[in-house]
Subunit: 216 residues, 2 copies
DNA sequence: GTCTATACAACGATAGAC
DNA sequence: GTCTATCGTTGTATAGAC
């Protein structure tokens, strides 16, 4: 083991003043410190470039705290972005089942989560930062590609999985924009079965259908 | 919409203190004044609520100037939003032709215009304001429903034209977000034929296809 | 005494250097 | 191909709160 963090906390080295084990005296908001550090580091280095160890160091705590408080790097990212649910978890729930109905399950779950979670407030915030800062765009882009879409598509994709993933993302993002941010009727108020019937076939074709102009 | 544009700019109505006819002395930036007034009034009252006469009055010029400098209320709106092209004009160019290939023409035109117009800068700005201010959202929403989508869909739509229009909008907006703002690969760099082959069938189904779960 | 927040050590995977 | 550095994650012992 090589590592940096704790390996050389040997006495008398320097820096970290020999954190003692066990629960810290009091008032130490480790969770909050991690969140702040995560926002900063994710913004600076993107999702891949930000390491759990760096975030923990910035927060002045042990890397294992990320797991303890959030469950992992992905969940920490989700929390730092104030998303109503952890997308990675949703994906895991949505993927198993008939691949020919995956599009249906995706739309359905998307609608349920976002309808339930205070309309489009968090979505609008996210979209705003993506449209404002290139760093935010990079952050989200890496997360989406590395964590989300890849997992969905690689389970079913016959060819061009990355393109299929991006297409799925485009329809989902567009649906979110129109329904929750722009609030364009009648899509903004349409019930779930209506939206699912309309949009699920699109996702399904992006996932498993032909991508050239042949069969619609 | 009522008879708005320049029809009734009859002299001596009220308000403005008896402007003389003919070219004004000099230096009067009528175009810029109209733009500023338009941004303010559109933001305050939405697209429908903002009248050409009110905008002109706010700018201290004659309503006919809107037609002279911009060509109409819609084009003024487009200019106020800094869009690279007048969507209403694009629609007019895209609608005629085989209705079964309308989706194809829409994607194609969309790609051409936005690829040509400095990437996603203006699109990001537009999306940012829509996500930030409810007034901006209302403004765009009204414009999109009243002016854009309706015109496309009513030329071909068998049933539920408004829903179809919103669905088309969702895929277009999502494509713009992913390709130009988020820059998600490989969709961000895909050539036009690839994108058209992938997305056009979606738009075509939204336009003229079945909206329930039957034939994909 | 119990519970839990914490620190430390180590594992398997991965990517790049040589 | 081997080696090494670093990653995310897991296991476990301990210190302090309750």
């Amino acid at each position: 083991m090589v590592g940096v963090t704790a390996a050389e906390h040997a006495p008398g080295v320097d820096a970290a003043p020999a954190r003692r084990r066990g629960r810290r005296p009091g008032g130490a908001d480790t969770r909050g410190a991690l969140l702040n550090a995560a926002r900063a580091v994710f913004a600076e280095r993107g999702f891949d470039g930000a390491t759990v160890r760096l975030i923990a160091e910035r927060a002045g705590v042990d890397p294992a705290m990320v797991n303890h408080w959030f469950g992992g790097k992905e969940a920490l990212f989700t929390a730092a972005l104030d998303l109503p649910a952890d997308p990675a978890t949703l994906i895991a729930q949505v993927v198993p089942g008939d691949p020919e109905r995956l599009g249906e399950r995706i739309v359905s779950r998307f609608l349920t989560v976002w309808d339930h979670a205070g309309g489009g407030r968090p979505l609008a915030a996210l979209i705003r930062s993506v449209a404002s800062h290139e760093t935010a765009a990079r952050m989200v882009r890496e997360f989406v590609t590395r964590v989300l879409l890849r997992r969905v598509v690689e389970t079913v994709a016959p060819d061009r999985p990355d393109l299929r993933a991006a297409l799925v993302g485009s329809q989902i993002v567009g649906l979110g924009m129109v329904r929750y941010v722009l609030r364009l009727e009648p899509l903004a108020s349409a019930d779930h079965p209506t939206v699912i019937a309309a949009v699920a076939p699109t996702l399904q074709r992006y996932l498993t259908g032909p991508l050239d102009g042949t069969g619609s």
